[in-house]
């Protein structure tokens, strides 16, 4: 690996958490020998009748799950430590002092329609996100790039507007699946381990094994069915009854009940995913920072974690960085439940209209409960909140990022930069709260180019400070992901990102 930088490889690794040399994620010790065959049923929530197979439109857990089965990214995130591992790019490196990144593609990768992957396909797939009609959650990231260009058939060079050592992690985002160049009708043609045979939006995605899959030791089961089950109790019942072989998004509180069942395996993982209360900073009363702070002080985080998260997880401080993250700053003051101060702040704002908090089972079975618990906490601070429970189908499209005050969720991202950049930067299309803070933005952008670790940590500390106090996102706690498989499924690896970076389907087999 050639570095265009005067940095040791070790140093670079430290900075970017990249490990382009790894071939496969380590398997768990109990895993037996992989076997071919079988029909795997996996389920996910967050599906809607309006879903499409265009990776650009993926914005829900269901979309992420689809992406991980039928498409490949350049890079994947694997394991509990969020390692970046090769997918369609077998290696990557920074050139021009970190201003450009080169991705070297695996040769001979075949799409489901027989076409061979070239760098043109990658350029096409990535550029689409920046097009005017794009509503991609990666739109702001991609449209800020200087250029995405092919250098021969198997090299893609991405030119950045500013130095960013953390850039490769973006390429693992589930919306950045690679499709054949020129695709206009998205029927699910990708390079993934399974090709689509039937897609009923909001209901089911059916797939069979892609026989010429480029990964030699992957995609063991013959066919896969991705069921859309938005209702958490239906999901639990379906999983328990054996109708579903593998699922993420189980409720932490029912985990205890499920663990005792011999036919199921339950995996709990403290991750960086969270459920948040989003306040639209461009809509009154949430455009007032005092109002936002009042609400943040009106939530009893410990109580919320105990009640809703079954005590598994860690307290949040309204920044997306969990305490086990490398750039987490312990110096940012942890906000505590302070009804008196919350009341004083709320009264100083003088807002008398209704405060309606939208929530839905679409986010998680806990989303409605979290809103309800918060309502109780806030009531003690004299802040009246109305909880509006919306149906699951379509919630992600119609409420998240639209309603003035709503419950949303984010899964764990490979780096703090990835989550800050997509969900918190003022320029991001995917900034659900429409929160704009120039100092914060400057800190995040500077951190990308900062090669000194201490200085970078200082920048992140400042960013977390601002985000915690001023931001529009309330993050009461970081939840543990609870995933499960039936006992006859082997090879399931637990990762910080759900379904092991959404690639679990091609990694498991039936015993």
């Amino acid at each position: 690996m050639t570095e265009g930088l005067k940095l040791s490889r070790r140093r670079l690794l430290e900075l970017t958490a990249m490990s382009g040399a790894m071939v496969l994620a380590p398997r768990l010790a109990w895993a037996g020998e992989p076997q071919r065959g079988g029909h795997l049923v996996i389920s996910s929530g967050g599906a809607a009748a309006g879903d499409s197979l265009d990776p650009r439109t993926f914005n829900s857990p269901y979309g992420a799950a689809m992406s991980g089965i039928i498409y490949n990214n350049l890079i994947a995130v694997q394991g509990p430590n969020k390692e970046l591992v090769p997918e369609l790019a077998h290696s990557w490196e920074a050139i021009n002092g970190g201003l450009s990144w080169v991705f070297n593609l695996v040769e001979g990768v075949e799409f489901h329609n027989g076409k061979i992957l070239t760098s043109e396909d990658v350029v096409f797939s990535l550029r689409r996100h920046a097009e005017p009609d794009s509503r991609s959650s990666m739109r702001s990231v991609i449209s800020n790039l200087v250029d995405i260009r092919a250098d021969g058939d198997h090299r893609v060079i991405i030119d950045l507007p500013a130095v960013n050592y953390l850039f490769p992690a973006y390429m693992a985002h589930f919306t950045l699946g690679i499709v054949p160049a020129g695709t206009t009708d998205f029927t699910g043609i990708g390079t993934g381990g399974y090709k689509v045979t039937n897609f009923a939006p909001g209901e089911v995605l059916e797939m069979v094994r892609h026989e010429n899959y480029f990964k030699p030791n992957a995609a063991f089961v013959d066919s896969v069915e991705l069921l859309a089950i938005n209702d958490p109790s239906a999901l639990t019942a379906a999983f328990q009854s054996g109708q579903v072989n593998m699922t993420s998004g189980l409720d932490a509180r029912s985990a205890g009940l499920l663990e005792s069942m011999a036919n199921l395996r339950i995996f709990k993982m403290e991750g960086g995913g969270y459920i948040s209360f989003n306040m639209r900073c461009d809509i009154p009363p949430f455009d007032n920072p005092d109002m936002r702070l009042a609400l943040k002080l009106a939530v009893d985080r410990e109580d919320m974690l105990q009640r809703v998260g079954a005590g598994v997880g860690s307290i949040g401080n309204d920044t997306p960085v969990p305490s086990n993250d490398a750039v987490f700053s312990p110096n940012v003051e942890q906000k505590r439940y302070d009804p008196e101060r919350a009341r004083a702040l709320f009264e100083s704002v003088g807002y008398t209209g209704p405060i309606v908090l939208h929530t839905s089972d679409a986010i998680s079975s806990r989303a409605v409960d979290m809103a309800t618990v918060f309502q109780e906490h806030a009531a003690r601070a004299g802040i009246p909140i109305e909880v509006q429970r919306d149906p699951a189908d379509g919630y992600w499209n119609s409420v998240v990022g639209v309603a003035p005050f709503h419950v949303s969720a984010r899964s764990a991202r490979p780096t703090a930069d990835a989550i800050f950049s997509t969900a918190f930067l003022g320029t991001s299309e995917n900034n659900e709260c429409k929160w704009v803070n120039e100092e914060f933005d400057a800190a995040i952008i500077a951190a990308r180019a900062e090669e000194n670790l201490e200085r970078r940590l200082a920048l992140y500390e400042r960013a977390q400070e601002i985000c915690s106090v001023d931001g529009g996102t309330m993050i009461p706690f970081f939840s543990a992901t609870v995933q499960g498989t039936s006992a006859d499924v082997d090879g399931f690896n637990v990762g910080a990102v759900e379904l092991n970076g959404y690639r679990a389907v091609e990694q498991v087999w039936f015993t």
Partner: protein, 268 residues
């Protein structure tokens, strides 16, 4: 004999449930939204019926849920009766185009599936206690109209109406004294059936997530809230569902007895 036991049982059950709903604030061990137990605490340490997913006392929630359900049910059914009966009497009295118009309107109202119409109306007006009660009342008023209209008959042609008119007496009192007693048995039976269908209706709406909004929950909403526990092997979600069933059983039992007793069976 059997039917007498049934009706006495129904009456006891009904009064017990109405009392429980009325006295919910006294009977409930804790406030319905207070989180006092660990999540999904088992019955015993976690209260009589255990706790729900947020550690709220199920018994208290069921009592308050019953209160919500009954308030909406009785309000909507009574209002429906008032609308239906008064329009029937007005039709009988005024005849002519008013009669025809109201009759046609109710014909149409009855020919539309109520839950579909309710879905549309609630989508337009938004969900609140008032809109729920009003929507249900209007939808159900057609049955009362249909039961009452034939009894009200051709009021304007009746002697005492003429007399009252000539004497300049108040029409309202006469109507009430002369006509209403005729209607009582069939109206009561209809009211009973109306109560049970209103209960099932509001429960279904809440179950679909477009009834009472959290943290308040009526019986249907409680079933939805706790469905997760059921799939994990808990019976608690069935308690509010059973309350709905028992209430309907009781009012149906009484209504059936009324129908049999006065042998003026309203059309089923």
């Amino acid at each position: 004999m059997l039917s007498r036991i049934a009706v006495i049982g129904s009456l006891c059950l009904l009064s017990a449930m109405v009392l429980a709903a009325l006295l919910a604030p006294v009977l409930a061990p804790v406030l319905p939204n207070e989180m006092v137990y660990p999540a999904y605490a088992a019955p015993g340490p976690g209260g009589v019926l255990g706790a729900d997913g947020l550690g709220r006392d199920m018994l208290s929630r069921v009592l308050y849920g019953l209160r919500y359900t009954l308030v909406i049910t009785f309000a909507a059914t009574t209002l429906a009766g008032a609308i239906g009966v008064s329009l029937a009497i007005a039709s009988g009295l005024l005849r002519g185009w008013f009669d025809i118009l109201v009759g046609r309107a109710f014909d149409i109202l009855m020919s539309i599936p109520h839950i579909i119409l309710a879905l549309i109306v609630l989508a337009i007006l938004g969900v609140s206690m008032t809109t729920l009660v009003l929507t249900m009342a209007v939808l159900q008023s057609s049955t009362y109209y249909r039961v009452t209209r034939p009894i009200a008959g051709d009021l304007s042609a009746m002697d005492y109406v003429e007399v009252a008119r000539l004497r300049g007496e108040r029409l309202g009192w006469n109507l009430f004294r002369e006509i209403f007693p005729n209607m009582v048995p069939s109206l009561l039976a209809q009211y009973g059936l109306g109560l049970s269908s209103a209960t099932l209706f509001i429960s279904s709406l809440s179950f679909l997530g477009i009834g009472i909004q959290p943290p308040a929950a009526d019986l249907g909403g409680l079933v939805r809230e706790n469905a997760l526990a059921l799939s994990a092997g808990r019976f608690t979600p069935l308690v509010p569902a059973a309350c709905i069933a028992l209430f309907c059983l009781a009012v149906n039992g009484i209504a059936d007895w009324l129908v049999g007793h006065f042998s003026e069976r309203p059309e089923s």
